[in-house]
Amino acid sequence: MKNIFAIALGIVTAIGGFLDAGTVATSGEAGAKYGFGLVWALILATIEIILLVEMVGRFTAVSQKTYADAIREKFGFKFYLFPLASELIAESLLLAAELGGVAIALSLITGISWHYLFPLAALLVLVLVWSASFDIIENGPALLGLVTLSFLVAIFFLGPPKMSLLQTLWKPPIGPGQGADYLYLVAAILGATISPYLLYFYSSGAIEEHWSGKSLLLNRITAIVGMGFGSLGSLALLVLSAMVLGPLHIQAGTLGEIGLAMAKPLGPLGGYLFAIALFTTCLGAALEVVLAVSYNVSQGFGWEWGQNQKPVQTARYYIFMIVFLLAAVFIGMIGIDPLQLALFASTVIALFLPISLSPFLFIMNDPAYLKDKTNGWIDNTAIILILLIAFAVAVVSIPLEIITGGG
């Protein structure tokens, strides 16, 4: 019974926790500009993250080491600096975007400018990471994030899409000069969905929750079913944007504009539901990003860490968390629109993906860690394909960012 509850909770939290500012921004803009033309990118990204999450969960459950532990111990300190540096840069931008998403959600509800609510969002995150246990941080926002299922309800109220829109599924409406922008969104979708912070967070969470070799089934179901259903939220938002914003030629340039897609089928209630969904998903993501980076640094340098211990017992872990949060606040206070920041952060993440993911190929085939649970040829082929895609995306992401001006 306990196992069934754990599995159900894992699925539910994966569903509710899938979306964040990056996926909202990329899904919303993708749908508004290209109809269903980027559904394939979303599905590809979902398959990749399912595979990666399953692997990292299996690795930690069997070896009792986190991903950051493995990178430091297997590849040495010099190599470890590369994924560390890439994570610090990319996730500080993403955290600023997530805090901005929370602020915008509050702004949609209260009418107060998000610039004034930004510090409040940061304070909320600080209070939660300081005082809440891992279970509350992982499950709380994710359970609240189930409100994203209202996107599916909104689609139901809109009715079936027109044939002309359905055709964009295999024939994306890429106009003259829009090729670079289309590819830019592909890179951004991949970067937003395959966020390395998720892997560090999931791996550390497996230790926090005392997973062992007996948790492999839980891990597999959470990864496949949870992440699979979780992507429904992203897909639903893309479809909503395609059906509502696209015909109105609204480019979804801000998070507030994306919310209009909910307002048409559901009226003012739709607007509030979108705001609540944005609040819970961005808050959950902000908490995960802060924890993921602190986990990475603490584990890499061998400090005591853990969300279930008192702050004085893990002093360096908490101090780093506070400093990192302050850095993100500083970035956010510059005043860049959170949607633009989310897109930029997703592009930077895409740029660094090969650095973050390449250790997988080696650690997942090391019997010293995984004993008899090392990758089979299918998993290894999948990693190689993922890495090839990641390299391709990394090469084009920054040039496309420059050419398109950030989407």
Partner: protein
């Protein structure tokens, strides 16, 4: 199928036997030591091994004497040119060394005989707790401080002379890089060239 199961059982038995061998009698490779987690006997993780110090004995054996941690050792791992720059700013203030005798076990972490408060490495953690976090509500400082005050210093379990004699053959551990015979490769210890600096407890 039955043969496979039998092979698996035999493999597990071999692994258990290997683990029963005293840590001091195991042959280690660099992977068992460098960058590995340091954990005290009261289950506190205090850092990772950044570098090692070894001694070439007159009989030609290369023996490991100390484990080193700290930003200067780490800087030397990144680049030998970085070490003097870091030394200029930090002046060995954050460098720590742990005699190899303090190590009680090498797998899955490097387990140390003493408690966390007995080592200077990790002092920054206690400093942050005592000077910064204690003033923030909900930090748990009061209970943590009281528990530390009540703690006895020294190893978590007393060692009798007989136990020490039974366990140790050598006081230091022979090391080798993968593929190298013991004591023939002096470059094993030369991950960075530096003068030893003693910051032991």
């Amino acid at each position: 199928m039955q043969e496979q199961e039998q092979e698996q059982v035999q493999q597990e038995i071999q692994e258990e036997i290997a683990q029963e061998i005293s840590p001091r009698q195991q042959i280690l490779v660099m992977r068992n030591i460098m960058d590995n987690q340091l954990e005290t006997c009261d289950d506190i993780e205090i850092g990772r091994v950044a570098d090692i110090e070894a001694e070439l004995l007159p009989d030609g054996r290369l023996v490991l004497t100390k484990l080193l941690t700290g930003p200067e050792s780490l800087a030397g791992r990144v680049s030998s040119r970085l070490r003097p720059i870091v030394h200029f700013f930090l002046r060995h203030r954050f460098e720590h060394s742990i005699p190899i005798d303090e190590v009680d076990g090498f797998h899955p972490t490097l387990r140390l005989r003493g408690r966390a408060r007995d080592y200077t490495i990790g002092a920054s953690e206690r400093w942050i707790a005592n000077h910064i976090l204690r003033w923030i509500p909900g930090s748990g400082w009061k209970e943590w401080h009281e528990r530390l005050e009540q703690q006895q210093p020294g190893p978590c379990k007393p060692e009798t002379e007989a136990e020490v004699q039974a366990e140790t053959g050598n006081e230091t551990q022979e090391i080798r890089a993968p593929g190298d015979a013991v004591g023939t490769n002096t470059s094993v210890a030369s991950t960075t060239a530096h003068q030893p600096h003693d910051h032991t407890h």
